[in-house]
Amino acid sequence: MLLTEIKYLVLKDVKLEFKQRYAINGILLYVVSTIFVSYLSFAKIIDSATWNSLFWIIMLFAAVNAVSKSFVQESTSRQLYYYTVASPQAIILSKMLYNFILMGVLSLLCLLVFTSLMGEFVVNYPLFISSLLLGSFGFASALTMIAAIASRTNNNFALMAILSFPVVMPLLLTLMKVSSAALSVGTMAGNIKYLVALLMLNIVVIALSYVLFPYLWRD
């Protein structure tokens, strides 16, 4: 029952996206122009630590921008309709899943553009990609919950940043640790504890959202 609800809600979001296409295009343009600005201002990066920090900072801001729209792009009355036909758990899980798909696509494209402009520093691609995907997953789930909280206030966009940065910081620092290992001699086996920690963090976020989201939407 929950799974069918989630399936239809995700399909609804994907269809809506393909129809309107402004969210994904807007966010892609945002990422590309940010990378281009850093390309112009840095001229050349020779240091893998700088490459890594810059990449993740761009990813963080792109994620906050992409996910913050989750609960505000549709009208209040339409959201009310969703709540009458679906359970709140299905709504939050479907939003997370949809944002994960969005973030996954976005992060891979970001990697592509970033490496082509800023130089190729990644040594261990499997490790880097797995940290990227776990990162997208983590950003998507934590930020979706924060977006749900922020959407209930009068000042959505400013609060989104304020509320989310402390909460995603543990995720971001762990991600940067794994990916900086992937830029040098790090191996999959040597970093498995960080990947497991990331996965656990994601599970914690999803469990918390599952329990807490029902308190958010009703008025």
Binding site: I149, L159, K193, A197, V205, S209, Y215
Partner: protein, 225 residues
């Protein structure tokens, strides 16, 4: 007089513990360790602040959970006031820690997992205060703030509890090259350390109670009905 003692003995106990920890903290013999030297006495103040902060934030978490299960606005008032008191302890913890770090490590702030964790915890709770300010309706504010409180607390516990263990390189005792840990504290130091923790936690609860009463009075003055 009897009634006063009966109702307020715990407050007097808290004040006595704190006074004792301040006086004894400066007078007792402490082990003379390299680098730290006499600054080890800061343990009675700095570490105690973090303990008290975590207890206050923990109390606030419990209050938020109780609010979500009962929807009694009383719990929300306790949750926010515990956080206010906890933030006071947190800021004091940072100030005393920077003083100590300046003496032993030569700089008030280093890129240490423990320090970053503390800073981000404080930031998260300031964000909580901003979140509360941005919602006007009382019950909605209480509910949403409670949700954020639970969410942030769990994330930060993960952060402070698990991440420093994954990363090796903290300057704090027991994690890096520093010589002392709380577990092998000198016995005389324990005699000051534990009462200091108890004293500050008691005073923390007392402060919370006073702030809750102030809040009640202020609301009454705003709308006397």
């Amino acid at each position: 007089m009897n009634g006063f003692i009966k109702n307020n003995w715990w407050k007097l106990l808290g004040v006595a513990f704190i006074l004792y920890s301040i006086i004894a903290g400066f007078l007792i013999e402490v082990p003379d360790l390299p680098i730290i030297r006499q600054s080890i006495r800061n343990l009675f103040f700095h570490v105690v602040m973090w303990f008290s902060m975590m207890v206050m934030f923990g109390t606030s978490l419990v209050r938020s959970l109780r609010y979500l299960s009962t929807f009694d606005i009383k719990h929300d008032v306790y949750a926010i006031q515990s956080i206010n008191v906890g933030l006071f302890f947190g800021i004091m913890g940072i100030v005393t820690g920077m003083e100590w770090a300046n003496f032993t490590w030569g700089t008030p702030w280093t890129n240490d997992p423990q320090l970053n964790g503390a800073a981000i915890t404080i930031l998260a709770y300031f964000a909580y205060l901003v979140l509360r300010r941005s919602i006007d309706e009382e019950n909605k504010r209480a509910r949403i703030a409670a949700v954020y409180n639970v969410f942030a607390f769990v994330m930060l516990i993960v952060f402070i509890g698990i991440l420093p263990k994954l990363s090796d390189g903290s300057l704090h005792p027991g994690k890096g090259g520093s010589p002392m840990t709380v577990t092998n504290l000198d016995i005389t130091m324990r005699l000051v350390f534990y009462p200091a923790i108890a004293g500050w936690i008691i005073v923390g609860y007392w402060l919370t109670g006073i702030r809750v009463k102030m809040d009640k009075i202020r609301q009454h003055l705003d709308n006397p009905e």
